[in-house]
C-alpha cells in the first residue's frame, strides 16, 4: 500500500515543508513540498538523509535505565511503564524535598515546546530553557533593544534584495532551503553579495566582494560604515527622521570612528570601506545588512548585532521589499493562532530562574529562552538554589555549552538526568534514564504557527508507524506528568487529539492540511505602511538607536570600541562554524552524512602552518586553557593568520554511536564559558588555542 503525506522535516530546526512517500509501511522517498515557493521539491543534504536516519539501527530503540556508573554505557532495556514509573518516583521525591524549581528542562525549540513549558509550569518550576540563547540570545536582545520585538519576529526578503552584506552568515552552507533559493534568485536577478568572514566559505565563493576581516572586529567595521554614511548623508533621510530615535547621539558617537581608524583594526582598506558604504546606499532601501542567525561569538555581541540593525535602519530597509520585515501573525490577517497548552491557568511561581534572566543580575537576556551556559555554574554553586534534576529534551549540553569538563562536573552533582532524544547523543550516554522519541517521520506533531509576510500554519504528519519502541515527546511528557499528579494539564489522548484541540477556534481543521500541507490566513503579503504604520513595541514607538531597554538596565547605547585581544606567539583565536552536511551535534552518526564529512579538521593559515612545521593531513595537538585534543590539520590561505577554524559538533564521546565516536575534536571541549552578559549569548570565539605537531 502506498501513501503520501505532507509533513515537516526535522533533520535540523528549520522545519522545511516536505512530502513523504511510504510504501508498505516503509518510507521510500522524501522531497521538498512542491506547493511551497522556494521548496518546489528541493531538499538539503540532511533532509535527503532522513530515510537513512529512520532506518539506522544505531538510533535509540527502547527506554533504558542506567546500570553501571554514569557514562559507562551499561544499560537495562525496560518497558515504557517501568521507565516512566521510575522517573515519576524519582521526580516526585525531588520535588517533595527540594521544590519543583529544582527541576530543569532544556530543549531545542520545537513544535511541542509549549508542552514542555506546561510541564514545568505545572510543577512550579521557572526553569525551562531552550538552546536558542546559545545560538542567538544576543541577536534577540539586540532586536528587542531597537524594536521592542524579538529576532523571531524579524525576517529578510532575500528574493527582492539588490545588495546583501553577510557577516560570516554562511547561507550557502547553513542551507535553509527557502533562504538559499530566494537569495540565489536575487543573485540571478543581479543582486550584489558582499561576504565578510575570516575564513573563505562556499558563500564567499558566490560573492562579488569578499573581505578576510580580522576576527572579532566587525563592530569596528560597522562604526566606520556608519561614520561614512552619516558624514556623506547617504542614509534614507525621510525614513530615519520618521522612525529613528537617537540619530544625533549616534552622529556624535561615530565621529572619531573613521575608515582609516577601522582599517588598522580590521585589516580592510579605508577606501574599500567607503566604497561599500556608497555602493550599498545607491541600492537602498532594497538592501540587507544581515544581522545573523548564530550571534554568539564575542563578549560585545549585542553591540555588533545592534550596529548591523542600525545600518539597515539608516538605509530605510526595515519593513521594505528586498530588506528586513516584521513577521505578521494571524491577527494581521484577521485570523486566530492555534492554541497552546501554556494558555491554561498554573500555580504561581515565586522563585527566580536558575540563570536569573530577567532579574537585576542578568536583566536583558530573554527569560522566555533562558541562558543555558549558566547551568553548570548554577548547579555547582547552588546559585540561586540547588538544582537536582535535568530533563534534556533533544538538547546536548555536553556538545553545545562551552567548557565540557565544567558541564560534566556539574552534571555529576545532579540526582537525576533524563534524556529524550532520537540519537545516542553524549548526554543520552551520560543519563540515568533514556527515553527514545519517535522521529519526525514517525509522529504527528503540534501545529507550526508560521508567521511571516503571509501568515500560515503547517503540520507535521506521521508518515509511518514507529520502527522501534519509541513515543512522541508530547506524549512522553504527559505520561511522566500523570505519574507526578499534573496529568490534568495535558488534556489529550494522542497527538491527533492535541492538534484538534490546538485548532479549535481557528476556523481550520486537520483535513484542511491534506491538500498542500499548510493553510494560509490570507493570499497577499502584508507590509506595514513604512511612512506611518510600523507597529514597533519599543517605549518610544521608534527604532531606538538610543535604547531605553539598555539604558534603564544601566548599559550604554553606544559603548566605545574596545580593540580585540590579539593572539600571542603560537596562539590562535578559535573560530567555529557549520557545514551543509551536518546539523549542530545531532547528525554526525548518520551513515550517509558521516560518509561525506566524518570528522572535523583544523583550518590553519598556510604561512603560520609552515612556521610550525605543519602540513595538510598532519595530526596536530590543539589545546586551550579548558581542554585539548588531536585533529588533522588543513593548511590553507583561505583563513586569516590569527585564526584557526573547526566545524562545530564533532568529537562525540557516546560509544554506542560508533561512526561518530571520537571522530575529530569537540569545539565545546576547548571553549571557555564566557558570555555577552548584556545580550545573553556565550562568546564562542573568545578562546585562544595553541597548535603544535602531535
Amino acid at each position: 500500500m502506498e501513501n503520501s503525506v505532507f509533513s515537516l522535516c526535522f533533520m535540523c530546526s528549520i522545519r522545511c515543508p516536505i512530502k513523504v512517500l511510504a510504501k508498505d509501511g516503509q518510507v521510500r522517498w522524501i522531497e521538498g513540498n512542491p506547493h511551497v515557493p522556494g521548496m518546489e521539491g528541493s531538499l538539503c543534504p540532511r533532509g535527503a538523509a532522513g530515510i537513512n536516519m529512520l532506518y539506522d539501527h544505531e538510533r535509540l530503540q527502547s527506554p533504558m535505565i542506567r546500570e553501571g556508573e554514569r557514562g559507562a554505557g551499561k544499560w537495562r532495556k525496560v518497558s515504557w511503564d517501568e521507565a516512566l514509573d521510575y522517573i515519576g518516583e524519582k521526580l516526585q521525591a525531588i520535588i517533595d524535598k527540594h521544590g519543583g524549581h529544582s527541576v530543569v528542562l532544556g530543549e531545542r525549540t520545537q513544535l511541542a515546546t509549549h508542552v514542555s513549558k506546561t510541564f514545568l509550569k505545572a510543577i512550579k518550576s521557572p526553569n525551562h530553557f531552550t538552546h536558542d540563547a546559545l545560538c542567538k540570545g544576543s541577536v534577540n536582545t539586540a532586536c528587542r533593544s531597537l524594536f521592542g520585538l524579538t529576532d523571531g519576529q524579524v525576517g529578510i526578503d532575500y528574493k527582492n534584495t539588490k545588495h546583501i552584506v553577510l557577516y560570516g552568515r554562511n547561507i550557502f552552507e547553513a542551507v535553509s532551503v527557502k533562504e538559499v533559493n530566494n537569495l540565489m534568485s536575487a543573485l540571478e536577478n543581479g543582486a550584489k553579495l558582499t561576504y565578510i568572514d575570516p575564513r573563505v566559505t562556499v558563500t564567499a565563493t558566490k560573492a562579488q566582494r569578499y573581505w578576510m576581516i580580522r576576527p572579532g572586529t566587525d563592530l569596528a567595521l560597522n562604526y566606520a560604515l556608519i561614520h561614512v554614511i552619516l558624514k556623506e548623508r547617504l542614509y534614507d533621510a525621510a525614513y530615519v527622521d520618521r522612525w529613528v530615535h537617537g540619530l544625533s547621539e549616534l552622529q556624535d558617537f561615530v565621529r572619531h570612528y573613521t575608515p582609516e581608524w577601522a582599517a588598522e583594526e580590521t585589516g580592510i582598506a579605508a577606501d574599500e570601506i567607503v566604497t561599500l558604504a556608497r555602493e550599498v546606499s545607491r541600492d537602498k532601501p532594497s538592501v540587507v545588512f544581515h544581522y545573523g542567525y548564530r550571534g554568539a561569538s564575542y563578549t560585545n555581541e549585542i553591540y555588533q548585532r545592534r550596529s548591523i540593525l542600525m545600518l539597515n535602519a539608516l538605509m530605510g530597509s526595515i519593513e521594505n521589499k528586498g530588506g528586513l520585515f516584521f513577521k505578521k501573525g494571524p491577527g494581521e490577517a484577521g485570523g486566530k493562532a492555534a492554541r497552546k497548552l501554556v494558555e491554561q491557568k498554573f500555580p504561581k511561581i515565586d522563585v527566580p530562574r536558575f540563570d536569573k534572566a530577567g532579574t537585576p543580575d542578568l536583566p536583558l537576556p530573554d527569560p522566555n529562552h533562558g541562558v543555558p551556559q549558566i547551568l553548570p555554574h548554577a548547579i555547582l554553586n547552588e546559585d540561586p538554589y540547588p538544582l537536582k534534576a535535568l530533563i534534556a529534551f533533544r538538547f546536548e549540553p555536553l556538545g553545545s555549552i562551552p567548557d565540557t569538563s565544567l558541564t560534566l562536573k556539574a552534571l555529576d552533582k545532579l540526582d537525576l538526568i533524563v534524556t529524550i532524544d532520537i540519537n545516542h547523543s553524549d548526554i543520552a550516554s551520560y543519563s540515568d534514564v533514556v527515553l527514545p522519541e519517535s522521529s519526525y517521520l514517525e509522529r504527528t506533531d503540534c501545529i507550526q504557527q508560521a508567521n511571516g509576510l503571509k501568515p500560515q500554519m503547517f503540520l507535521r504528519r506521521q508518515a509511518v508507524a514507529p520502527r522501534y519502541d519509541t513515543r512522541e515527546g508530547a506524549m512522553i511528557l504527559k505520561q511522566i506528568g500523570e505519574r507526578i499528579g499534573i496529568g490534568k494539564y495535558f488534556p489529550y489522548k494522542n497527538m491527533d487529539d492535541l492538534v484538534a484541540w490546538q485548532l479549535e477556534g481557528t476556523g481550520f481543521n486537520m483535513e484542511d492540511f491534506n491538500a498542500k500541507g499548510f493553510v494560509a490566513y490570507g493570499k497577499n503579503q502584508i507590509f506595514w505602511d513604512r511612512n506611518d504604520g510600523l507597529k514597533l513595541k519599543s517605549p518610544s514607538g521608534k527604532i531606538e538607536f538610543k535604547s531605553s531597554l539598555l539604558e534603564e538596565a544601566g548599559f550604554k547605547s553606544f559603548p566605545e570600541y574596545e580593540p580585540v585581544k590579539r593572539p600571542n606567539g603560537s596562539e590562535f583565536r578559535l573560530v567555529t562554524g557549520r557545514v551543509a552536511l551536518h546539523t549542530h551535534v545531532s547528525t554526525q552518526n548518520n551513515p550517509y552524512l558521516n560518509e561525506i564529512v566524518p570528522e572535523n579538521v583544523l583550518w590553519i593559515n598556510s604561512g603560520k602552518a609552515a612556521e610550525l612545521g605543519i602540513k595538510t593531513g598532519d595530526v596536530v595537538a590543539v589545546a586551550s586553557g579548558r581542554g585539548k585534543g588531536t585533529i588533522k590539520a588543513f593548511a590553507t590561505d583561505l583563513i586569516h593568520p590569527e585564526t584557526v577554524f573547526m566545524l562545530h559538533g564533532f568529537g562525540h564521546q557516546a560509544k554506542a554511536a560508533t561512526r561518530s565516536f571520537n571522530k575529530g575534536v569537540s569545539d565545546s571541549l576547548l571553549q571557555e564559558n564566557v558570555m555577552d552578559k548584556i545580550g545573553g549569548s556565550p562568546a564562542l570565539h573568545e578562546t585562544f588555542v595553541t597548535v603544535n605537531p602531535a
Binding site: 522517498w29 522524501i30 522531497e31 521538498g32 518546489e40 521539491g41 528541493s42 531538499l43 538539503c44 543534504p45 533532509g47 535527503a48 538523509a49 530515510i51 537513512n52 550557502f172 552552507e173 542551507v175 532551503v177 538559499v180 533559493n181 540565489m184 540571478e188 543581479g190 573563505v200 562556499v202 564567499a204 565563493t205 558566490k206 560573492a207 562579488q208 566582494r209 569578499y210 551543509a580 552536511l581 551513515p591 550517509y592 552524512l593 558521516n594 560518509e595 561525506i596 590561505d637 583561505l638
Partner: protein, 169 residues
C-alpha cells in the same frame, strides 16, 4: 549519448551533496558507492576573489560506452529506446571490468552485494514521467534534466541578460 541531457548550472551549485545523498537513498546504497557525486575544486583566489568549482559527476551515458563493451556477461547494457546505460544487477558477476574500463569512474562498487552499480538516470522514475532523484531534490535547482536545447537556453538567456543594453542603465 542518451537522448537526455542532465545539465548542471554550475553558477547556482553550492556543492552541498544533496544530489549524492538522495541518489544513494533512492537506490538504497550502503556507505561506499557514490553513483552521482559532487567534486569541489578549490576554493582558490582568482583575481582577489575566492572561487570554487563544484563539479557534478554522474554517468555520461556515452554513445559507445566503454563499460558495456567491457562487460563479459551482458549485465551492462544500453537501453535501446533512449540510450540510457544501466547495469542489470542479476547478470552482474562482480568482475569489475566496467569499473576498469570507464575513463571517468562512473561505475561504482557495492560491497554489500558484490556487484557494480551505476547511474541509470533513475530510469524507473523517468518511465513514470518523473525526473531523476538528484534533479528532483537538488537544493538550488541547479540540476535539470531533459533535452539538450533546453539546457543551452538557460546559459544563452543568462548571457543575453548580462550583455543587454537595458541592464546598463
Amino acid at each position: 549519448m542518451s537522448n537526455y541531457y542532465l545539465f548542471q548550472d554550475s553558477k547556482k551549485c553550492i556543492g552541498c551533496h544533496t544530489c549524492t545523498i538522495q541518489c544513494k537513498s533512492n537506490k538504497n546504497l550502503p556507505v561506499g558507492p557514490r553513483i552521482s557525486q559532487i567534486i569541489t575544486v578549490g576554493p582558490k583566489f582568482v583575481g582577489g576573489l575566492p572561487k570554487a568549482s563544484y563539479i557534478f559527476m554522474p554517468c555520461f551515458h556515452c554513445q559507445d560506452p566503454w563499460c558495456v563493451a567491457a562487460c563479459p556477461t551482458g549485465a551492462m547494457q544500453k537501453r535501446v529506446k533512449d540510450g540510457i546505460v544501466f547495469v542489470e544487477s542479476e547478470r552482474c558477476v562482480g568482475c569489475k571490468a566496467c569499473i576498469t574500463a570507464c575513463p571517468w569512474g562512473a561505475p561504482q562498487w557495492n560491497l554489500e552485494t558484490g556487484k557494480a552499480v551505476k547511474c541509470d538516470y533513475c530510469m524507473d522514475r523517468i518511465d513514470q514521467g518523473l525526473k531523476p532523484a538528484c534533479v528532483t531534490v537538488c537544493t538550488t535547482h541547479c540540476l535539470s534534466f531533459g533535452k539538450v536545447e533546453d539546457a543551452t537556453q538557460i546559459r544563452r538567456e543568462r548571457h543575453a541578460r548580462a550583455v543587454a543594453a537595458l541592464d546598463q542603465v
